[in-house]
């Protein structure tokens, strides 16, 4: 089975800084780690390779320093990596990110299975996995907590739900995003780490992927970050006097007036 795992290098949450001009997260020069949720994707891929054999490719989009993360992935036992890196990719929202990643998957010749973590800890959107599946025209199951069966043709997976799980028979090729329950990420392996020391990940920019500048990065994004700020700690406080029922009604009236809620007719 050919598996592509999408990884994102994220700032170590202890050292996050914002770019004062673009209001996006500053990634260069900040301690970076593999997105913790992507480690579960990596673990899922390693488990699958143990069960059915095959190859694991790690795909990421990021600044040149993301090559270090791919080296780390090699240490975990990944066979090959691909770094999508280009100044034009900077500032991408999830739409532009999936454009680049989809091109990356095609650049790698496609896969039987693409695995993503359920979301990244910096953006927290959980959109890239499903968006990538859409762009690749692949069936997808998000929030996979276990892979019950795996063969060259299909997977049977458990999709985590609020009140239990769905059992989904998923024909391949396909994309899944995985959650923590898939399995605790294993430590790296010695052979992998020794290989990683000398590993240089291949690199592809927008031109190599056949992407125009307006498809990727800030220019290819529908969302623009206008401002990033920490919400003020203290709001205005107003005490509504009177019995509870009257006070409750006053709260509702105020929320309707401020268009926070709509009352049904």
């Amino acid at each position: 089975m050919k598996i592509i795992v999408c990884l994102k290098q994220v700032p170590d949450t202890a050292s996050v800084k914002l770019d004062p001009v673009t209001h996006t997260l500053k990634r260069e020069g900040v301690a970076a780690v593999i997105n913790p949720f992507d480690l579960f994707a990596l673990e899922a891929a390693l488990q699958l390779r143990e069960r059915v054999g095959g190859q694991i490719l790690a795909l990421t989009m990021g600044p040149p320093q993301a090559a270090e993360m791919l080296r780390e992935a090699i240490g975990y036992g990944v066979d090959e990596g691909l770094l999508l890196s280009d100044r034009a990719f900077a500032g991408a929202d999830t739409w532009a990110t999936t454009a680049a990643l989809a091109a990356g998957v095609r650049h790698l010749g496609g896969a039987d299975l693409v695995i993503c973590g359920k979301q990244a800890v910096d953006g927290d959107t959980a959109q890239v996995g499903p968006g990538l599946a859409q762009r690749l025209g692949l069936p997808q199951v998000a929030f996979v907590k276990a892979i019950r069966e795996a063969s060259a043709e299909h997977l049977v997976v458990e999709r985590q739900m609020d009140d239990g799980y769905d059992l989904v028979d998923l024909p391949l090729p396909a994309l899944i995003t995985v959650v923590r329950e898939i399995g605790e990420p294993r430590p790296p392996s010695l052979k992998g780490k020794m290989r990683a020391k000398k590993y240089e990940a291949p690199l592809a920019g927008a031109a190599a992927l056949g992407l125009a500048e307006d498809q990727v990065g800030l220019k290819g994004s529908f969302t623009q970050v206008v401002e990033v700020f920490a919400p003020g700690a203290a709001g205005q406080r107003e005490m509504l006097p009177g019995p509870a029922e009257a006070a409750g009604r006053a709260v509702i009236d105020r929320l309707v007036a401020d268009k926070v809620i709509l009352l049904g007719s």
Partner: protein, 385 residues
């Protein structure tokens, strides 16, 4: 201290430390309490390629030597000696094949050990034969293309968990110690079974069991080296493995110092952290000094072994003797520093103290180590006189 480890050796240390912190520490108390074999942890060590550490690359290993093994074992032991014993015992079982196996034996068994697919074990001790290894009773007789083994082995680490056993048995009783031979026995061989699993003071995560051979038939090509080489196989195996026991001792002692020093910094009596009292600080200072001396000895001997030196018996015995004696002292004093807390199972030092005791006993008691050193001294100083 900087021991000028290579980049690869530091990588081994860091990875083992990571596994010890993330995987072993959270479960060690439960494994100890339930006397439960660490099957999941062995899987993690296998995934990390650690079972291939000392196995040559052509058999699927990493081709490391004694020092690499000591570095790994020290880090694992810092968290749990029960786990590190299980790990190290597989190499103890592998050494006879590694050192004396023919090409067919090596290519059949070493890859299985290197991948962690199977654990190995070493079987010498019997109920009436401990330090006096020459008195073993288990016999093997040749019958056509087979050997037939009868007898039993006692206190075999990884007994019942291993798939591959290196077994010492007598093939010619008239020749005494020169009448012993070494064999490879596989789990599932006819007439081979596992008896009582022992209940122990320490290293309770590790499995210690009796092996029973009742007309156990194995193909004749399972003989290691030649008939009569059994004791040489055993002694050369111990020469290689003893620094590893020293490394276990350094690890558990370091683990105990880590706990004792941290505790002494935060525990207040008479309005002061107890580390500020000279009585406590001096205990910690002695612990730290002895650990560093033991580590320096273990690493030096490991490097000497890896240099290809032949006369490693005395050095190997020293590298087992001193660290294990100080590990007993250090872990006992760690309990003392923690006082009542240290005596309780809520803190890890009482387990470390229980675990440390076996290090003075197994792979040759420390009395036997002194005998080895003494005999070598007698030879050295007798030369040319």
């Amino acid at each position: 201290m900087d021991y000028f480890l290579s980049e690869d050796q530091m990588m081994i240390r860091d990875l083992c430390r990571q596994i010890a912190e993330e995987r072993i520490k959270p479960v060690r108390a439960e494994l100890d309490e339930k006397e439960q074999f660490p099957r999941e942890l062995m899987k993690s060590l296998a995934q990390a390629d650690l079972f291939g550490l000392i196995i040559p690359e052509q058999y699927g290993g990493l081709g490391g030597g004694c020092l690499e093994n000591c570095i790994a074992v020290e880090e694992l032991s810092r968290a749990c000696v029960g786990v590190s014993t299980t790990f190290a015992a597989s190499f103890l079982g592998a050494y006879p094949i590694l050192l004396f196996g023919n090409e067919a034996q090596k290519s059949k068994y070493l890859p299985l050990i290197a991948s962690g697919e199977q654990l190995a074990a070493f079987a010498l001790t019997e109920s009436a034969s401990g330090s006096d290894a020459g008195s073993i009773q288990t016999q093997a007789r040749r019958e056509g293309d087979e050997y037939v083994i009868n007898g039993s082995k006692q206190w075999i680490t990884n007994g019942g968990e291993a798939g591959i056993y290196s077994v010492i048995a007598i093939t010619d009783r008239s020749k005494g110690a020169r009448g012993a031979s070494a064999f490879i026995v596989e789990e599932g061989d006819p007439g081979f079974s596992v008896g009582k699993k022992e209940i122990k003071l320490g290293i309770r995560a590790s499995a210690t069991a009796e092996l029973i051979f009742n007309e156990c038939r194995i193909p004749a090509d399972r003989l290691l080296a030649k008939e009569g080489m059994g004791f040489i196989v055993a002694m050369r195996t111990f020469d290689k493995s003893r620094p590893g026991v020293g490394a276990q001792a350094v690890g558990v002692a370091q683990g105990a110092l880590d706990e004792a020093a941290s505790f002494a910094r935060t525990r207040k009596q008479f309005d002061k952290p107890i580390i500020t009292f000279q009585a406590v600080a001096h205990m910690l200072a002695d612990m730290a000094t002895k650990i560093e001396a033991a580590r320096a000895l273990v690493y030096s001997v490991a490097r000497y072994v890896d240099s290809g030196a032949k006369d490693i018996s005395k050095a190997g015995a020293m590298a087992k003797l001193f660290p294990t004696d100080i590990a007993m002292e250090v872990t006992t004093n760690a309990v003392q520093v923690l006082g009542g807390h240290g005596y309780m199972r809520d803190y890890p030092v009482e387990k470390m103290m229980r675990d440390a005791k076996i290090l003075q006993i197994y792979e040759g008691t420390n009395q036997i180590q002194r005998n080895v050193i003494g005999q070598e001294l007698n030879k050295e100083y007798g030369r040319g006189k």
